[in-house]
């Protein structure tokens, strides 16, 4: 290791670049070297700022710290503030960006300077104990601004802060470290939703990966492509596909020497999850499944042999799929059938695997009912549901969502699926669900939501703007009678296409939630979450 420093460092840097471009995984040493370089860069920056702030004196510091404190909370509130004034948002964003860029380094320097100032003040007050009350007042004043700077910064997730260049930079750095290409946003975003990602389906992430990529397991690459192209869609399907891909990953995994399976495997999974997140944002059910898998892996005892540990994890995943998805569907169908009586007219929206399962079971049990399938563009998932129901022999009617108020007087019940149930009782589901629930409420038709408990998440949301998913806007372009009117929508400066995927339904519109734990009102969701946490 006693080599000449300068040229060697340069060579090593080249090595790192080369291995990155070849798609090989960086060895441990290379990773450590990258980390060291970054730390040194940070230290240099801090030293410079530190000197500058010390020279400027204590008064200036206290003034700037007071200014920094309100700046922090305004940044976190920026996302919802985009709602009232679309145009002015861009102006403050650009003015805040340079200020916020050097803010994090400044606050670290601030804290160091404050600590030093506090120490000196304490020393001074000790020396002149019964001395000047003025001096003590000065030290008291100094202590006040540092406490003001205990910011209550709530960390917002990255995927709803896309218009914040800070956050994008952090994301880019993280992905670079994990050697996953960064997917760029596509097309003009409607300003109300400029804080969300919008990707194009024609540019899947997998095109930017080098082949063969040894960083990401091929099963995960395939899964990512299936997600981004919409081949695997629907929250149950996505979770099951994810868990099967993870099983494959674990089967092919071998513990490297001097590493523990429980820690290394979790670290191996992190880049895969980032990759899948880039292909298509993770759903709440996928998030819960990943949490479960990570917990199981980290609970493996250290003395366990590798084969044994792997088979244990595989069994756990198998159990999760069986218990939380398959058996849960059976239990939900059993309770839901009690609510379906003869001569019922049931309205369903889109294609929910769970609702379809319930209708199949009810039909097996010889209940006489007919179904109205409501569908909406651009996904037209209702057609798939219609196909499956008609194949079983259930009599169906098909309408588009614009006709829902026309058809509702005939309907006796509405069955809806859910993507996730939030902790405040709101239901997150395919866009259009809240509209159907609202119209059903106006006609006094009961609305039943069917959802497995593994889709319950701790998040709280009251509107569909804060956190959502923007699909490819080109999906809205359709050719009718040989004319494609929206073909050149990008050239029209005042035109924006919005393809939302999810929306949020308030609990007042939902009469009943059917879970495998029983039939509960929407307001009991936090109780279920609490019970689940206690169990685990």
């Amino acid at each position: 290791m006693a080599d000449s420093g300068g040229t060697d460092e340069h060579d090593k840097k080249d090595d790192v670049e080369r291995s990155k471009s070849e798609g090989k995984e960086l060895t441990k040493e290379e990773k450590q070297r990258l980390r060291k370089e970054k730390k040194q860069q940070k230290k240099h920056k801090e030293k410079k700022d530190d000197k500058a702030s010390q020279e400027s004196g204590k008064e200036n510091k206290s003034a700037s710290s007071a200014a920094a404190a309100p700046q922090l909370p305004t940044q976190t509130v920026k996302a919802p503030s985009a709602v009232p004034a679309p145009a002015p948002v861009f102006v403050p964003a650009s003015s805040e960006a340079p200020a916020s860029a050097d803010k994090p380094t400044k606050t670290k320097a601030e804290l160091k300077a404050e600590r030093r100032a506090r120490q000196e003040a304490e020393r001074a007050s000790k020396q002149g104990k019964k001395g000047d009350p003025g001096q003590q007042a000065a030290s008291g004043k100094l202590k006040a601004p540092p406490s003001e700077l205990q910011p209550v910064v709530k960390r917002l997730p990255e995927h709803i802060q896309v218009d914040n260049p800070e956050v994008l930079k952090k994301l880019a750095k993280k992905l670079e470290r994990q050697q996953i290409p960064l997917r760029s946003d596509y097309g003009y975003k409607v300003s109300l939703f400029s804080h969300l990602h919008q990707y194009s389906r024609k540019a899947p992430l997998t095109q930017q990966l080098s082949i063969p990529s040894t960083v990401i397991h091929p099963a995960v690459v395939r899964l990512g492509l299936q997600y981004s192209q919409g081949i695997v869609a629907g929250s149950n399907a996505r979770s099951v596909a994810l868990l099967h891909a993870f099983k494959q990953v674990i089967r092919d995994y071998t513990t490297p020497p001097n590493e523990e399976l429980s820690r290394d495997l979790v670290n191996k999974l992190k880049p895969y999850i980032s990759f899948l997140n880039q292909c298509r944002p993770l759903s709440a059910s996928m998030g819960n499944a990943i949490k479960f898998v990570k917990k199981e892996i980290s609970n493996i005892p250290t003395q366990c042999k590798e084969e044994e540990a792997k088979s244990k994890i595989l069994n756990c995943i198998e159990w999760y799929i069986n218990d939380k998805i398959i058996l849960a569907a059976k239990a939900i169908a059993a309770s839901a059938i009690e609510k379906i009586s003869d001569e019922d007219v049931i309205l369903v929206y889109g294609c929910s695997s769970l609702v379809n399962h319930i209708l199949f079971e009810a039909f097996e049990k010889r209940r006489k009912f007919r179904v109205i399938v409501v569908d909406s563009r651009p996904r037209l998932e209702g057609r798939e549901a219609l196909r499956r129901l008609v194949q079983r022999g259930i009599s169906c009617t098909y309408v588009l969502i614009s006709a829902v108020s026309y058809i509702l007087p005939e309907v006796s019940k509405v069955f809806l699926g859910a993507h996730a149930l939030l902790a405040n009782g709101y239901v997150m589901s395919r866009v259009g669900t809240s509209q159907i629930a609202l119209v059903a409420k106006a006609f006094n038709v009961p609305v039943l939501v069917c959802c497995e408990t593994y889709k319950f998440c701790e998040r709280v949301q009251t509107d569909s703007f804060v956190s959502n998913e923007l699909d490819d806007p080109d999906d809205l372009i359709v050719t009718r009678k040989g004319k494609t009117h929206l073909e050149n929508w990008q050239e029209v400066p005042s035109l924006g296409l919005l393809n939302l995927v999810y929306d949020v339904t308030p609990p007042d519109f939902v009469d009943l939630v059917i879970t495998e734990l029983g039939m509960i009102p929407c307001t009991s969701v936090p109780v279920v979450l609490r019970v689940k946490n206690v169990d685990q």
Binding site: P446, D511, L512, M519, I520, P521
Partner: protein, 247 residues
């Protein structure tokens, strides 16, 4: 103890104390059944208790009987987890059954104690039909020297409201009997509405004498507070979606 004896005992309980809730009478009957039961296994005991509850449901189809019976059964199943020996288990069950009965006999008094504070001096109260819990609440309020007046709906077809009016007259409370159709008319003058319940369902709603739903809707339209007083053994495992489905 076969079915006829069960039904006879139940009827005797109801006759003995007309003020007792039917759920309490059902639980008393089931406790007596437990005492006289000659079964050898816990599972057999549970099955015979279930059939006894079904038999009582046939006799008195009110929701309260089924909820009381189910509560008792659930209560029993929890005890059986702790003791393996049947005879010792039965003794514990009987003791606990007695305790349970004592507690729920006190429930009306507890409800009255909690509720009378909602009745302010000079209040005008509207109530529906004859409810013993509401009567107990008003008794307690009168005993606390509060001055209030009561409007009772006649509550056809059995005119049970008149019975309520008689009972209130004996308490020296000024009472007016109104027609069922006059609820919307009278609600303007009223300060609060108190009704009892036969059953409280899982969605948080209540099952009560016909006419209560209209009264609730009208009081919501008039923004008058609507209070329901019910003992805890009336909570029943039903989740009706709309009024026509009691299932």
């Amino acid at each position: 103890m076969n079915d006829e004896e069960l039904v006879e005992y139940f009827r005797a309980q109801m006759r003995k104390d007309p003020d007792m809730a039917s759920a309490v009478a059902a639980i008393r009957t089931l406790l007596e059944f437990l005492r006289r039961d000659k079964g050898e296994t816990i599972l057999g005991l549970r099955e015979s208790l279930t059939s006894a509850t079904d038999c009582l449901k046939g006799e008195d189809s009110s929701v309260a009987v089924s909820s009381g019976g189910e509560l008792f059964l659930r209560f029993i199943s929890l005890t059986s987890l702790e003791h393996q020996d049947l005879s010792c288990c039965k003794k514990v069950m009987e003791e606990r059954g007695e305790l349970f009965l004592e507690k729920i006999s006190m429930s009306r008094t507890k409800v009255a104690k909690l509720c009378h504070t909602f009745i302010k001096d000079g209040a005008k109260i509207l109530t529906h039909s004859y409810s013993r819990v509401v009567l107990r609440v008003l008794e307690k309020a009168a005993a606390e020297k509060k001055r209030f007046s009561v409007f009772v709906t006649e509550s056809q077809p059995d005119a049970a409201g008149r019975q309520m009016a008689e009972a209130l007259k004996n308490l020296h409370v000024p009472v007016t009997v109104v027609l069922d159709a006059a609820v919307g008319y009278v609600l303007e003058k009223v300060d609060l509405v108190i009704v009892g319940a036969e059953g409280v369902v899982e969605s948080g709603g209540i099952i009560n004498k016909i006419g209560t739903y209209q009264m609730a809707l009208s009081s919501k339209a008039h923004n008058k507070p609507f209070y329901v007083v019910a003992e805890s053994f009336k909570f029943v495992r039903l989740y009706p979606l709309r009024t026509y489905q009691m299932a």
